[in-house]
């Protein structure tokens, strides 16, 4: 019978039906970082359990890593304690750790793909909701909580209930200056921040097929912002070409065998989806969020909504967001003065993101009132960018060029907003207080749009930049 990729991977990893009706699902790849794992390792020790399959778990430090001075011990004692706990736990259980001295450290969702650990057909878990990123490779990848991290460490399996699958077809071609980030913000805006609850999102169609792996990762990354725990793209030649030659990818004859298997994992043409949605790429403009959840966005040429014309409970949501942001209904988003520009994160901290931003920045200067920083997603993104001279482009324009980590996406390190600062950010969440100041404000947009805003000192349409 014709099946979706979701069903195929689910069936191949299903161990048994548990008494409560959930499925015990085998986990092919488990990624671990310093924030959501220490309690899981403690619980394992308390119960006297070992890590069952240590060679299928890989660790790195990303959330709390300072992106400036990185000498150990870190100035922040708790950041040091969390890093040390991860080091001790990895050593005790034989788990490979890509630490700051490895040259491979970075945001867990950037390094998994980069190292070739992330592969089609796998089940992939990590104690982080943006694990959906790895679905770009045709994997079934989802975020889990700390108790589930404990379960995966102990058993390499999880108790899970299956999801429905919604196929989101993006048709046609994107205009110049319109990026993967704009596509996913548009999808979330259209389907809502809870529209994906209970679903895996399968992204398909010409627009998605033409995208690079970096772009597909941006799309899948933000699935969870639309409520979908899983997002994926069917694997194709773009996927296979990306993986060839990566450190943990199969090589030689094994790669050929892998490719044959990977092809069989893609959704069958005549599969049945639980829901189907079509989005026209040509209708998508550079998109900017104006509110306090990622579904509250407009095209850069548009004005902010009026709560009086919103329906039902959405009305209070719009009012609350406008009030928190200090915006008025009907005001244009373009021209909004910014204080901070942040380029980075697991959504948009890869090499192609930095290249697009650098194209906008080259030869320009950051507006005098703007604090601007670039935080590469990984050490290897950082060194690749430096080989291309992108660091110089950013530095000359007045950006801070930092070391790899999650940084100002969630401000668990020293990079944070102060007071009411307004940040143009290439990250994934504009929740109240997300970027470290309880009253700080975030406008989500593509890296190129952040770069343009940094130069202009306000939100501008990147397509108008010569």
């Amino acid at each position: 019978m014709a099946q979706t990729l979701f069903q195929k991977i689910w069936d191949r990893h299903a161990v048994r039906r548990l008494p409560n009706g959930q499925t015990q699902l085998y986990v092919g790849l488990h990624l671990v970082h310093e924030v959501t794992s220490p309690q899981a390792f403690d619980e394992l020790a308390r119960r006297g359990w070992a890590v069952r399959v240590p060679h299928r778990t890989f660790a790195t430090v990303d959330h709390i890593v300072p992106t400036g001075r990185q000498l150990r011990p870190f100035e922040d004692g708790m950041a040091e304690a969390m890093t040390r706990a991860l080091e001790v736990n990895c050593r005790a259980h034989g788990i490979p750790l890509f630490d700051l001295s490895s040259g491979d450290q970075g945001i867990v969702h950037v390094i998994g793909p980069e190292l070739g650990l992330t592969q089609p057909g796998m089940t992939i878990c990590c104690g982080d909701s943006h694990t959906s990123t790895h679905g770009a490779f045709g994997a079934l990848a989802f975020g889990i909580g700390t108790s589930q991290v404990r379960d995966v460490l102990a058993s390499q399996t999880l108790a899970m209930s299956p999801l429905k699958v919604r196929r989101i077809e993006v048709r046609g071609r994107l205009a110049a200056g319109v990026y993967a980030k704009d596509v996913i913000l548009t999808i979330i805006g259209r389907l809502g921040v809870k529209g994906g609850t209970g679903y895996a999102y399968e992204y398909a169609g010409e627009t998605i097929e033409r995208m690079s792996m970096d772009e597909r990762m941006t799309i899948c990354n933000m699935s969870i912002e639309g409520g979908a725990r899983v997002g994926y793209v069917n694997p194709d030649d773009t996927t296979f070409d990306y993986l060839r030659g990566r450190r943990f990818a199969p090589s030689g004859d094994a790669f050929e065998r892998a490719r044959e298997w990977w092809r069989t994992i893609a959704s069958d043409r005549n599969a049945t989806w639980d829901d189907e949605v079509v989005i026209e790429a040509g209708e998508i403009a550079p998109t900017v969020t104006w509110g306090i959840n990622p579904g509250q966005s407009v095209g850069v040429g548009d004005t902010l909504p009026d709560p009086r014309s919103s329906e039902g409970t959405d009305r209070s949501g719009v009012s609350e967001a406008l009030e928190f942001m200090g915006f008025r209904a009907g005001q244009p988003i373009a021209g909004t003065r910014i204080d901070v520009a942040f380029i980075g994160s697991c959504t948009n901290g890869r090499l192609s993101d930095l290249r697009e931003a650098a194209r906008v920045v080259r030869g320009q200067k950051v507006a005098p009132h703007v604090r601007a920083l670039v935080v590469p997603g990984s050490q290897s993104v950082r060194s690749a960018a430096e080989r291309e001279g992108l660091d110089e482009v950013f530095r000359e324009a007045g950006f801070d060029w930092r070391s790899a980590g999650c940084s100002m996406c969630l401000a668990m390190n020293p990079d944070r907003l102060e007071g009411r600062e307004l940040c143009a950010s290439s990250s994934n969440r504009n929740f109240k207080g997300r970027q470290g100041s309880p009253t700080g404000r975030t406008l989500l947009m593509s890296p190129a749009m952040v770069a343009a805003a940094a130069i202009a000192g306000e939100v501008v349409d990147v397509r108008r930049i010569p």
Partner: protein, 207 residues
């Protein structure tokens, strides 16, 4: 075998209630990221909704979690898509450690309700109109005792009973005490190994 099989059945929760208004209350509001800087979950309850509480105080009001009369509440009543955002278990941990033993809402973000289940905190749903009636009662009187009965599929207070639902797997896990599933996952390891052996990537696609 281990304490994982020492079951703790959760059938019914009784106590006073706290209500939160608004949909899409995200995990960063429940527990801001700066409080995730820790290697244990200890003390998280002291930072539950910390920024929202401060915002309410600055406006001259009190956040429901700051109201002295609701200090011992056991039931939390919320809107739609509660707990959206991060996978941080710190969010349900902070709520549970504050003394909340059941959450009633219009809907929940999936990772949040899954995490809550893993620590034995039931997240049950009720229809929007019923929720509004429950909320009204709870707001009117902080002393009103509420109940959430998972077996009967009902929640309410003295004068009002409404139907509630939760996914059958969650209901079953809570009623049988099997919500701490690690023991179950280790039970039949031969079956686990046979699935792993059938996955070509586990052998590096060797011939």
């Amino acid at each position: 075998m281990t304490d994982a099989l020492v079951v703790s059945r959760i059938e019914r929760v009784d106590g006073t209630a706290i209500t939160l208004r608004g949909d899409d209350i995200d995990t960063d509001r429940i527990i801001p990221a700066r409080f995730l800087k820790a290697v244990t979950f200890d003390g998280l309850e002291h930072h539950l909704f910390e920024d929202d509480c401060r915002e309410a105080r600055e406006r001259g009001g009190l956040h429901p979690f700051d109201e002295p009369a609701r200090r011992h509440a056991r039931v939390l009543i919320v809107g739609a898509n509660f707990g959206c955002g991060s996978s941080r278990e710190h969010a349900p941990q902070a709520i549970a450690r504050r003394g909340i033993q059941a959450v009633i809402g219009e809907s929940f973000a999936e990772i949040f309700s899954g995490n809550a289940l893993m620590i034995g905190l039931p997240c049950v749903t009720a229809d929007a109109q019923d929720l509004a009636r429950l909320r009204e009662r709870a707001d009117a009187s902080p002393d009103e005792p509420f109940f959430v009965d998972l077996r009967a599929g009902q929640a309410g207070c003295r004068a009002l009973t409404v139907p509630i639902t939760l996914p059958s797997a969650a209901r079953d896990a809570l009623l049988t005490g099997a919500w701490d599933a690690t023991g179950l996952l280790l039970e039949d390891y031969a079956a686990v190994e046979s699935v792993a052996a059938g996955l070509p990537y586990m052998k590096g696609f060797g011939s």
